[in-house]
Symmetry: C2
């Protein structure tokens, strides 16, 4: 597909310091030229935010004494836009976002900075995928690294349908041979149920901490959450036409008038 070495852009939302990004970089070594452009700080749950009202500051980020990538004081979507439009000299052939700590399944996909970076790549016409590991602690990146590499090879070879990205979620298993398989899945209706912890600061001003827990709504194995819970790597094709085509007739029947 490529006459020259492919150019791969890596991004994430946990920040340029995150071990998941280093793991992704390690996993894709040898597949092409890798450029890393990632948020300077953690940007979890920024959703598909972009920064319009502030300038985007950048700096070179070094690791173990050598250049690692460009840190952007912005969101994951900002990183991809800025990388492709301004920072990188060569065209990007593939965007890979991750490896995120915490799954991006069910309705949480709409809050996901990790997925938004892959969305942004896709909007720019670049085959893109996002990889998340379903844990916040004691991560074993090995299965996600292995699958990210195999997927990257396939995507560089065969591309992806235009306008479609892959949202990949990997179960966190200590034994990398315990992965049950790969399943092409659908976004479930699982959602985050918020709780708010009300507190009062020393100056007697009220503030709240958002917390919560996941509510599972669907047990079918074809759903992203269920697949991951059962030890499968979940691959969901994602697109961004939010039109609810099935309800167009119902909304027309509402007969909204000016």
């Amino acid at each position: 597909m490529h006459n020259k070495e492919p150019h791969i852009l890596l991004v994430n939302d946990d920040g340029i310091f995150a071990p998941g990004l280093a793991a992704l970089n390690e996993a894709l070594q040898g597949l092409g030229k890798i450029s890393i452009v990632a948020p300077a700080t953690e940007k979890s749950a920024v959703g598909h935010a972009i920064t319009l009202s502030d300038p985007l500051r950048i700096y070179d980020f070094h690791k173990n004494g050598s250049f690692f990538g460009i840190a952007v004081h912005g969101t994951p979507a900002d990183c991809v836009k800025l990388a492709v439009s301004a920072l990188l000299d060569e065209p990007v052939d593939m965007v890979v976002s991750g490896i995120n700590l915490g799954s991006n399944t069910g309705l949480n996909v709409i809050y996901s900075g990790t997925v938004s970076a892959a969305t942004e790549g896709t909007l720019l016409g670049i085959p893109s995928f996002a990889v998340s590991l379903a844990t916040y602690k004691n991560p074993n990146f090995a299965p996600a690294m292995r699958f990210a590499r195999k997927t990257a090879e396939k995507v560089l070879e065969q591309g992806l349908p235009q306008g479609t990205l892959l949202n990949i979620n990997v179960p966190n298993l200590a034994d990398e041979n315990a992965i049950a398989g790969v399943m092409v899945t659908e976004q479930s209706k699982a959602r985050w149920q918020e709780t708010f912890d009300r507190r009062v600061d020393p100056k007697e001003r009220v503030y709240y901490w958002m917390g919560g827990y996941k509510v599972e709504m669907d047990e079918a194995l074809v759903k992203d959450d269920t697949a991951v819970r059962n030890g499968y790597i979940s691959v969901t094709p994602v697109q961004f036409d939010l039109t609810d085509y099935q309800q167009i007739a119902a909304i027309q029947k509402l007969n909204l008038l000016y």
Copy 2:
């Protein structure tokens, strides 16, 4: 539908100070009890962001000497979550987000804080809609106010399909009788083409300003952008299953293996 007065939550992403929110409040007077919970500062293009790593501070916002609403140092989605789960004593019967300055059509919907607030309401099981006015300057809120009120009446009476919100975009016309009509539309593929203005600050650090222009991709009148450009009020039913069902077979054929 209601034995008692309906409880309507108003929110926006331009901030609690914004004239569009005051216009919406004015438009819906008399339809029920109105509560306003909105961002303390402008939050445009925050997408579906939520605030997990910072506390959410709130304060009472007064206007012309009387209580207007609660300002939240957070995103539009934060406002709805916090309002429904913690701040308001009574259940909310409808969420209305807006009136936003600037259209939320085409692919820009995924960046829209205005739409994300209505999405959040819908996820909480509350009929919700978002209203945007297609201009950044010289707004005439009158047509959007009139249509928001008529829509609110209908939605309070008849509800909305579960899991579906309305994304409403109103053309900015000086003459409110020039509105061509109401059209139930589909999200177009129109998108924002970014430009980045590279600058160097007095300390010789590089920074970028994001700018851009809209690229229209579709001229069919049933598309949100085109409808608005032709003087119609656009009503798009929106849902949040991002699964690309049409590409599931193609992704299965990729035969991704672990």
